[in-house]
């Protein structure tokens, strides 16, 4: 079977982050390579955080999706060659995060001090009358904030350099 790389990327968009079901792995930026190696499909994925427990699950999901679409000869490898940072989330991905109720990360380049996280824009009301409650959250990639206007807590997908 001839491998159409563009088509493979499209198919991979169907695989979602197990904890954020509106966000595809492609938009999350964790799929770093899709190649045709002598009629074998070779794919590299990289974790958002090194200790992310969802990585094995993501790898499995990618393999299952490829099988479903008839790409039987494939190899999916975890690599740190092109490490993830939060700027790798696509614009579409950031919109999806926001609709899901998670504040998208600020630019990783601007994240030089914890104070940058003090006034993250609230995903509900779009104001920055917010405060940082904890740079650590329910998963490694989320921080906890509070919106003084909405009077409600929200989470941010953390910026990471």
């Amino acid at each position: 079977m001839e491998i159409d790389i563009e088509k493979v990327w499209k198919i991979l968009e169907e695989v979602k982050d197990p904890e954020i079901p509106v966000l595809s792995l492609v938009d999350l930026g964790v799929i770093t390579k899709v190649e045709n190696q002598n009629q074998n499909l070779y794919i590299e994925i990289t974790p958002t955080f090194v200790g992310c427990p969802a990585l094995d699950f993501m790898k499995q999901e990618v393999e299952e999706k490829l099988n479903q679409h008839g790409f039987i000869k494939h190899e999916v490898k975890v690599s740190f060659e092109k490490p993830w940072n939060s700027d790798k989330i696509s614009e579409k991905g950031k919109q999806a995060l926001k609709q899901f109720g998670l504040a998208p990360p600020i630019s990783a380049e601007l994240f030089t001090d914890i104070s940058v996280l003090e006034h993250v824009i609230c995903p509900r009301c779009n104001n920055n009358n917010t405060e940082l409650k904890n740079p650590f959250g329910p998963t490694l990639c989320r921080s906890i904030h509070y919106c003084n206007d909405c009077k409600e807590a929200f989470e941010q997908f953390k910026p990471l350099q």
Binding site: F49, V50, G51, C52, P53, F80, E81, P83, W84, N85, A108, F111, D113, I114, K133, N134, P135, F136, G137, P138, L140, I144, K158, L160, Q161
Partner: protein, 251 residues
Amino acid sequence: MENIALKELLYKIADDQLILGHRNSEWTGMGPLLEEDIAFSSMAQDKVGQSYAIYQMLHQLGEQEPDTVAFMRNATQFHNCQLVELPNGEYDFSLIRHLLFDTAEYIRFDYLSTSSYQPLADLAGKIKGELQYHTLHANTLIKKLGTATEESINRLQHSLQVALPYALGIFEPSPYENILIEHKIFKGEVALQQAWQEKIEFIISKTQLTLTDWKVLQPVYGGRVGRHTEHLQPLLDEMSEVFKIDPTAEW
């Protein structure tokens, strides 16, 4: 020779992270504040995950599987510094250790991000970004509590005195120091200690805590060559309990 030097470096880094990661996880459900409970639990997950990635790298260099390496060695086969194996004590001790260790860890990974061993440089650049959250957390809390009340300042000061000699053990001289420097794998423990001391002086200067003169401190060495306190073996026994009952268990 170069390979042996690289492995020694990787083992001590991974062992430090695994053991401190385990200690941090002991705060889960026990933190003095919910925020700190979550912080130490998250840092535990980061450190154990990072140690796994380095054990994986060692595996590619011919060592055993990560699980075997983590769960089947005795205390004398571990290369972590003694600082990370000490019991958590009260929160003030855990916080001081967190500052002293993580500051060194961040600089170490910063150095390693330009290592000539490319897989290590790639991974280190990544880990460095994650550790930024750990050092920011430590610095913020130390600044707050190191200038808060008489009790918080006294407690931190006492823990600082206890922890400093052990912290110097992070930089225990390595027999492979020159080889690592020569091959541009790592800048070495001496350079790391120097940079660490400057950073610690800077952070402590923002508080009402005082540092003992570095020259009069007696570093506690031994961890890197498998000499440990009585606290490490019980930690390992607990950590490996499930694995030893059923090595194929998934949890």
